[in-house]
Symmetry: C2
């Protein structure tokens, strides 16, 4: 799958910027440049199946880009934890659809990048819905199992 | 908050076992022994708010343990990625409630542990629902935003 041909991201931040750029532009090749070639990679879209390995993850993005509206992303509430080889980004995605005036409730996303021979690449995107309704307070919603 | 008094987990696997033991036993002190004292920690329960910092996360577990049924956990589909200081566990939790015969649909959880002076402790628990219905196939559900 061409590890040598991978774009070399110098930092996890650079890889993350490319991730959201590709997402907004529905650019499948650009998106898959961000991902590590390894098969030990995982992508979970909100309420979606856990997708494992490069080809499954590529197919997931293909479906999303084929079906979806144009989306504009704003990422906030970033918490970064990093050591020499792994970088963990916990973020909130605020998504504005092309045909909507109000942003959707935020999506919580854990994005993890790994440093390999060809720079930093994504090994996990775990995205999930935030609670419906008011999301300003701290606390957990009443009907969750855990 | 007493880093010196923290239980010293020798491996991320040991910390994870203590996490699910405390979860099943609704043992708040045991649960909080697993978590890092740092305020750069995050806990997201399925469809819950993103909780940040030790005291908010403790209060979240307090609410869950006060309200919840007894739960039995089976963890499967583990994918582990680890370097010297960080360990990422991507798992599926199969939860059987005390008063139910069938397990709930699995919960996808990303659990991250960090090696500090007092051993390995949890810095992230990001849990989210799997898609409703058949979860055996690969693919993404039709109505997700991304």
């Amino acid at each position: 799958m061409g590890q040598a041909r991978k774009y070399r991201f110098a930092t996890p931040q650079e890889a993350e910027a490319a991730f959201y750029d590709a997402f907004e532009q529905r650019n499948l090749d650009g998106m898959m440049q961000v991902w590590d070639d390894d098969d030990t990679i995982v992508c979970i879209h909100p309420m979606g199946q856990r997708l494992e390995a490069y080809q499954s993850i590529r197919e997931g993005w293909h479906q999303i880009f084929a079906a979806g509206s144009l989306m504009h992303f704003t990422v906030s509430e970033q918490i970064y934890i990093q050591d020499a080889q792994l970088a963990i980004h916990m973020v909130q995605e605020h998504i504005l659809l092309d045909d909507e005036e109000q942003p959707r409730p935020p999506v919580y996303s854990t994005n993890i990048y790994r440093l390999g021979e060809s720079g930093w690449h994504m090994i996990l995107h775990h995205a999930s819905p935030s609670p419906p309704g008011d999301t300003s307070g701290q606390g957990i919603s009443g009907d969750i199992l855990h």
